[in-house]
């Protein structure tokens, strides 16, 4: 495994180092400007003093970063962990923890620069290598926000964005939980992060990125995080194949209270994810904050109601799943739609996801163990399209310049389509590559025994 990681990192660096030759004419003028500044080619008067970060904004962004870490290490781990069988509990916890650690390091080595640098002629798709190893960053470096002249420390921006890269990659493991080799998960994560996450994040969020310039709206990562991860998980579930006994043996979740704790931590952490994406502690963050409550609540209610109507009983897992679906749907919309629009998004997303995790999944026959596709990809698509609709000022949204609902929805759909295609193709190639080099799936007897003892040599519960 070490070999593959090393060779892949070398490969990634070579790709990155090749880029400047295409990009020489456009070395970023303001090396510290990270988010697009619309007036980049009309430099301000030389005398204007460099903006200084506001202490409130800085504090809020560090707090938001902590909240997103809370979503991942305990939150996502426990949410997923409770859903698997007891014999695979530690494998899920290890995978999420391991991916968080791995992506954190890759992010500061090359991820940040490739995602938020200026790639010159390749800038529509990817950044550059100028900030590899965070070269040139100091405590005085700043990153732009959505307001001209308002900046935050660049280190804070690096850390905040690091958590997004890590959670996106960690989300994918739910698609093939209970049957994949631990080393292969890490190898796949490093590859997919490099060739899917970084370009998509650049295209959507960085100045000059293809979707950013087209005006695609993605406030906190509906496409970059949720559709991206959901599609990769689906591809993984199909490439790796179903769990032994899927559809025949019972595979009930082993500890739903842990899933409930995990879902709750996700919800709490999501305030950092959504409201933090405003990058400033302002009214925009307050709107995103409120939307993160009401969309989630509406989605929990609508999953509950749909289950009661269709199956006769409302389940705790259903309520928690609905809450997560609502959080996913409001992610791209958080700071852009009004609270009533957010409620509609929440009400709509749950029945759609419930349909996806039951009817669609059954009819297509794939084994997406923890429904990453059904909740994150489907919920993300509804959120992305819904953002194009409910951003309309007439529907309570904040509006965007020259807004036209039809063209905005088309732009949103373009973003969704590009993300689906990109993530699917990259994920497929990465899975096949890892399979070829080190194999993806554990041995049959190891799978039956459970990954905790067979892959990690320990047991979650010694009672």
């Amino acid at each position: 495994m070490k070999k593959i990681l090393a060779s892949f990192m070398l490969l990634a660096m070579l790709c990155g180092l090749a880029a400047p030759s295409f990009a020489e004419e456009a070395i970023p003028a303001a090396a510290t400007t990270t988010v697009a500044a619309p007036a980049a080619d009309a430099p301000a008067a030389e005398a204007a003093p460099a903006p200084v970060p506001n202490k409130g904004d800085t504090t809020w962004m560090m707090l938001s970063t902590l909240l997103v870490i809370l979503m991942i290490v305990p939150g996502l781990s426990l949410f997923y962990g409770g859903l698997v069988r007891a014999k695979n509990m530690l494998s899920v916890l290890s995978q999420v923890f391991g991916i968080f650690a791995l992506i954190s390091i890759l992010w500061v080595i090359y991820g940040y620069s490739l995602a938020f640098g200026d790639g010159g002629s390749m800038n529509w798709m990817i950044g550059d290598t100028s900030k590899f190893f965070l070269a040139g960053l100091t405590g005085d470096s700043t990153a732009a926000t959505f307001t001209d002249g308002v900046v935050i420390p660049e280190f804070t921006f690096v850390a905040f964005q690091l958590t997004f890269a890590a959670i996106t990659t960690a989300l994918i493991i739910g698609g093939f939980a209970e049957r994949i080799k631990f080393g292969s998960v890490l190898a796949f994560s490093a590859l997919w992060f490099t060739f899917a996450y970084l370009p998509i994040a650049h295209m959507v969020w960085a100045g000059g990125g293809y979707l950013f310039e087209k005006g695609a709206l993605d406030f906190a990562g509906g496409t970059v995080v949720h559709i991206n991860a959901g599609i990769a998980a689906l591809v993984g579930a199909i490439v790796i194949g179903k769990r032994i006994g899927y559809g025949k043996e019972p595979m009930a979740p082993h500890n739903l209270p842990m899933t409930m704790i995990g879902a709750s931590l996700l919800w709490v952490g999501w305030f950092g994810f959504n409201a933090g994406s405003n990058l400033e502690a302002t009214g925009g963050a307050a709107l995103a904050f409120l939307n993160t409550i009401v969309a989630t609540a509406a989605a929990a209610l609508s999953w509950m109601a749909a289950e009661k109507l269709l199956r006769g009983k409302a389940s705790m897992l259903g309520i928690a799943s609905g809450a997560v679906a609502g959080l996913v749907a409001v992610t791209p919309a958080a700071g852009l739609v009004g609270p009533m629009g957010a409620i509609v998004l929440g009400l709509v997303v749950s029945p759609a996801c419930l349909w996806a995790v039951s009817t669609l999944k059954k009819s297509l026959g794939y084994d997406d163990s923890l429904d990453v596709f059904g909740i994150h990809a489907i919920g993300g698509i509804i959120g992305a399209i819904g953002t194009g609709i409910f951003v309309a000022p007439s529907l309570g949204g904040v509006g965007v310049k020259d807004y036209d609902m039809v063209s905005q929805v088309i732009t949103q759909a373009t973003g969704v389509g590009i993300t689906i295609a990109w993530s699917a193709v990259v994920a497929f190639i990465c899975f096949k590559l890892v399979d070829l080099v080190m194999g993806l799936r554990v041995k049959e007897e190891d799978e039956r025994e459970g990954l905790d003892t067979s892959a990690h040599g320990e047991r979650a519960y010694n009672l």
């Binding site: 009983k313 897992l317 039951s358 059904g374």
Partner: protein
């Protein structure tokens, strides 16, 4: 001597134990078990996945008693464990050939 084995609803265990200790039964052994009878199982739903749970949790209780206690013991268990609903369980009675108390080496009814 008789060996009485009863399968009962888990929440009835305390009442049964009280009834038995009130009548000089010296000891019982309790095991958590799963099984099915006429009650059958139930269906559980986890998002899209539906599982039929065939085996329901029950308590298996074993008591070794003197033959002349048998009728009273059966009556006590019946009374304490009954809810009148399906799934109350069953009582099995077998002859018990020998009993030995390990500490003292006593055998037969003395060892009960």
């Amino acid at each position: 001597m008789k060996m009485v084995t009863a399968i009962i609803k888990p929440f009835k265990l305390d009442e049964v134990r009280e009834a038995l200790s009130a009548m000089d039964v010296q000891g019982i052994t309790v095991t958590e078990v799963k099984g099915f009878g006429r009650q059958k199982g139930h269906t559980e739903l986890y998002r899209g996945a539906e599982y039929v749970v065939d085996f329901l949790p029950k308590i298996k209780l074993e008591a070794a008693i003197k033959a002349d206690q048998l009728d009273r013991v059966i009556e006590a268990i019946e009374k304490a464990a009954q809810t009148g609903k399906i799934g109350d369980g069953k009582i099995f009675v077998q002859d018990l050939e020998q009993v030995i108390r390990i500490r003292t080496g006593e055998v037969g009814p003395e060892a009960l």
